[in-house]
Subunit: 275 residues, 2 copies
């Protein structure tokens, strides 16, 4: 019914998705970015946003609006409207954002189109945001991982370039392993991931090292908003987007994990699970 | 950028827009209805909805979903997606809904197009929901006004029939007097309303009487979601929609109030003001 429009709506709640002491400008940025990342995974060009806003103090509101303005400028996506509500004093506040985008001409990819024989690719790095959350909880500020956690960047241009070339695509919001397994399940396939091939930033390697525990932590952390997609090598080359081949799809079901050339057991927890 | 689409996003918060003891099915219905009423005032045909949902108990969730399903069936507007979040225990819950509609071919009316000489019309009755809120607070249940408060009906067909005929239109969400004044201000005009002509339901007259105090209470109560519009008598006749002429627009500014053939002072409070 909506023609070529793509719509997404994500909410964030104080004490659940952000902490009362988090910088309000970062909360605003992140709210916009996580929704725009959903559009990126559909290869959609963002058209606008609607905001549902719980009022805070004057200073808090001002800082939030400044962060939202930064996101609007950075991503070129106007705020079209929304609603503002007062919440009872001391009640946790919540925010919702609807993003509207235009799907690519050939249609928006979904997570269920992977084919046996497809490779699994990642654009962007994995694990920075999870590490940033740990560092932020420990009181760190201003490091690259903390910035990755608080100011994720939706890969809009990459998503649009990739959309015509991929069989399935999604953004990594809950963790590489859990999200790859979801893509495999939706496609009726199995997926294998080689931990040694998962792209990690230099900053993350410097902070957390590169042993298996660090690789597993990265592959099971959420909030990265990298793009995860199923495609052939040739198709990715045609897109012009730099991407790391981290695994592949085959008949069957489930997730297989490799590291340093051999199969390894799955960790007990594949990603961040939230309501 | 969005072509002929109309978008609206309203939030409701426990303790502010609904009470913890309100029936969850009614809360769901009302959340859908208030957003669809915004589309009705634009003459838009609803295409779909996105829901931002705070999880409650299993029974509460089930009842909410049942009310949402009733609204979806009644208004023919599918749920396209959304987000579900857990909130901290005992925190007030909040819900947001985005409704998307297709604007009428000639464009969506707004509140700023009234012309000097236009009459002011109301479709639907005024004051039922405000009376219903009073009755609900006093423990009443099942009466027509309580039902009007908890289960408002967006006037979608009326809005679509009226849109090509009106100069300005909005729904009455905060009270007839305040909303008419807002239309006048947006249009750079003054507006006069005759209380004796304001349409009130038989049930509301039976409960609250028909003296000036009752008329003023009705004209300053919120949540009715009647349609308020500026048009000529001939245009309203052409629309085929039954509507009551309650006043008119002229050059100047401000609100004038009449009752029983003479001008009366404005009440101290013109409507329900909320954040």
């Amino acid at each position: 019914v909506l023609g070529d429009l793509v719509l997404t709506h994500d909410m964030i709640v104080e004490g659940v998705h952000f902490l009362p002491g988090d910088p309000p400008a970062d909360i605003a940025w992140k709210l916009a970015a996580v929704n725009l990342s959903d559009l990126a995974a559909k290869g959609a060009a963002p058209l606008g946003m609607l905001l549902g806003y719980s009022l805070g103090s004057g200073a808090w509101n001002g800082a939030f609006i400044e962060g939202l303005r930064q996101a609007i400028d950075a991503f070129g996506t106007p705020l079209l409207g929304g609603d503002t509500v007062a919440v009872p004093h001391h009640a946790p506040r919540s925010f919702g954002l609807t993003a509207i985008g235009r799907a690519p001409a050939g249609g928006a990819p979904n997570r269920s189109g992977a084919r046996a024989g497809d490779a699994l690719f990642v654009t962007g790095t994995i694990g920075d945001a999870g590490l940033g959350l740990e560092l932020a909880r420990a009181g760190e500020d201003g490091t690259a991982p903390v910035r990755a956690y608080r100011r994720p960047v939706p890969l809009l241009a990459e998503g649009r370039a990739l959309a015509p070339q991929v069989h399935a695509m999604m953004d990594v919001s809950d963790g590489l392993l859990i999200d790859a397994l979801r893509m495999a399940e939706a496609s009726g396939l199995s997926v294998t991931i080689d931990l040694a091939r998962v792209p990690r930033s230099e900053a993350a390697r410097a902070f957390a090292g590169d042993d298996r525990a660090a690789r597993l932590a990265a592959a099971t952390a959420g909030d990265d908003h990298a793009l995860l997609f199923a495609a052939s090598e040739a198709a990715v080359a045609a897109s012009g987007v730099a991407a790391a081949r981290v695994g592949g799809f085959a008949a069957g079901q489930g997730l297989g994990l490799m590291d340093d050339g051999g199969e390894i057991p799955l960790p007990g927890r594949l990603g961040y699970l939230h309501a």
